[in-house]
């Protein structure tokens, strides 16, 4: 059975990397990170997926957290890359770039791109 490529399937494999990348330049809280991913073009990403991924990366020791109190809204839990997270971002980023360029080459050879 042929299964067409859809972004939801692709996202599952790279959401960790996407979240790490979204935190590369600036710490962020859950909804903030979701917004960054969506504005970067990943419109299909779900809130629960981002929250779950953040929890998993945190439990995996790649993220640090801190709480920023706020007078009006709720307290916000910020996530930040630690050294382990940066190393993982670099490593996974290279894997992804290798994979993506392989796919690019494949598609180009077949004349589809």
């Amino acid at each position: 059975m042929f299964r067409g490529v859809d972004t939801t399937q692709l996202l599952k494999g790279v959401l960790d990397l996407a979240v790490l990348a979204a935190l590369r330049d600036e710490d962020g809280y859950g909804y903030d990170i979701l917004r960054r991913l969506r504005s970067a073009g990943l419109e299909d990403v779900g809130d629960a997926s981002v929250y779950g991924t953040l929890r998993r990366l945190f439990n995996g020791g790649l993220l640090n957290t801190y709480v920023v109190p706020s007078d009006e809204g709720p307290h916000r839990k910020y996530y930040a890359l630690n050294a382990g997270g940066r190393a993982e971002l670099q490593r996974s980023g290279k894997v992804w770039q290798g994979f993506a360029s392989t796919m690019d080459d494949l598609l180009r050879e077949r004349g589809t791109a």
């Binding site: 599952k12 959401l15 809280y29 859950g30 909804y31 903030d32 917004r35 779900g46 809130d47 629960a48 997926s49 981002v50 929250y51 779950g52 991924t53 953040l54 929890r55 998993r56 439990n59 020791g61 809204g73 709720p74 307290h75 916000r76 839990k77 050294a83 382990g84």
Partner: protein, 315 residues
């Protein structure tokens, strides 16, 4: 409207939690730990109700489950037993401790450091095996010491030790990836026994080391005065010198014995009231015939130095 927002979050959270009811409680708690804050952020930032923004709680729970890689949906995994739940609780605690302790040791995780110690364990394991083998084969009845001596032989001990250590390292470098789980379990069981042996051996060696120190101080031949209880000084004429003081070449008083005397009739020990030696003049081993317990009359008659043992020295 803070109150109703809080209610909405609580209700949504409750439904999500219920939908994840098949996960072990500790896993679920860990997963949902920050969700109340997160839902509050969503409410503030996105506007509308939570269900409008995020969809039904059951869908949210399913997406959450998928994103953290837990199996679920249909068919449900068998409900976890107490033991499984306990195990996952322990494991998650361990993981947290692992990550927290790591930086103190200068590693990302404590387990990385522990893994580096594996060859050291192989060597120790070889030593322990050699000790157990020697203990089983040795029937000489002599204490074995810290080497695996058989029949008191050092040569056998060293050969056995070398063989066991090399064997243990060889075993350690082999990986157990075979299909049958039993070699691995046998290894674990053996290791557990060895660790128990090691703990037992350590404490027995420790206590015997302490015992020998104890006897060094008190009974060793190195100190011939250790059993001296009192000192009796006699002058040239064989008279007992009362209240004698003895000093070393630096003028420091030499303290021997203990200043307690046993009362023969009552059998009680009382502190002596004599300054200097002897502490207990009535226990003098030799008596001078010319002056029996009257040192004040000493000068009147020339004493005859004929010390004779009057009674055995107190032991």
């Amino acid at each position: 409207m803070i109150g109703t927002e809080q209610d909405e979050i609580t209700a949504y959270l409750y439904a999500v939690r219920a939908a994840l009811g098949d996960l072990p409680e500790s896993t679920r708690d860990e997963l949902l730990e920050d969700l109340p804050e997160h839902l509050a952020e969503v409410l503030v930032e996105a506007g509308g109700t939570l269900v409008e923004r995020l969809g039904p709680p059951e869908e949210y729970a399913a997406e959450l489950r998928a994103s953290v890689g837990f199996v679920g949906g249909f068919p449900d995994p068998p409900p976890p037993g107490r033991l499984v739940e306990l195990r996952s609780a322990l494991l998650s605690r361990l993981r947290v401790a692992d990550a927290k302790l790591g930086p103190m040791l200068g590693y990302g995780r404590a387990s990385e450091f522990v893994l580096l110690l594996r060859p050291a364990w192989w060597v120790l394991r070889g030593y322990l095996v050699a000790m157990v083998v020697a203990w089983m084969l040795d029937d000489s009845g002599q204490p074995m010491g810290l080497l695996p001596r058989i029949g008191g032989s050092e040569l056998i001990a060293l050969l056995l030790l070398a063989g066991a250590v090399l064997g243990s390292i060889w075993l350690g470098r082999r990986s157990f990836r075979s299909a049958a789980p039993w070699p691995r379990w046998a290894l674990y069981a053996g290791s557990t026994v060895l660790v128990l042996v090691a703990i037992g051996g350590f404490f027995s060696a420790d206590s015997s080391a302490r015992d020998s120190n104890y006897s060094d101080v008190n009974y060793d031949n190195g100190n011939p005065f250790s059993n001296v209880e009192d000192v009796f000084v006699y002058d040239q004429q064989g008279r007992l010198v009362p209240g004698a003081r003895i000093f070393d070449q630096y003028g420091a008083p030499i303290e021997l014995g203990n200043p307690y005397c046993m009362d023969e009739t009552s059998g009680e020990y009382t502190h002596t009231d004599h300054m200097g030696y002897p502490y207990c003049p009535e226990k003098a081993p030799f008596v001078t015939p010319t002056e029996e317990r009257s040192p004040s009359a000493a000068g009147s008659t020339p004493p005859v130095p004929t010390p004779t043992p009057s009674r055995s020295a107190p032991r």
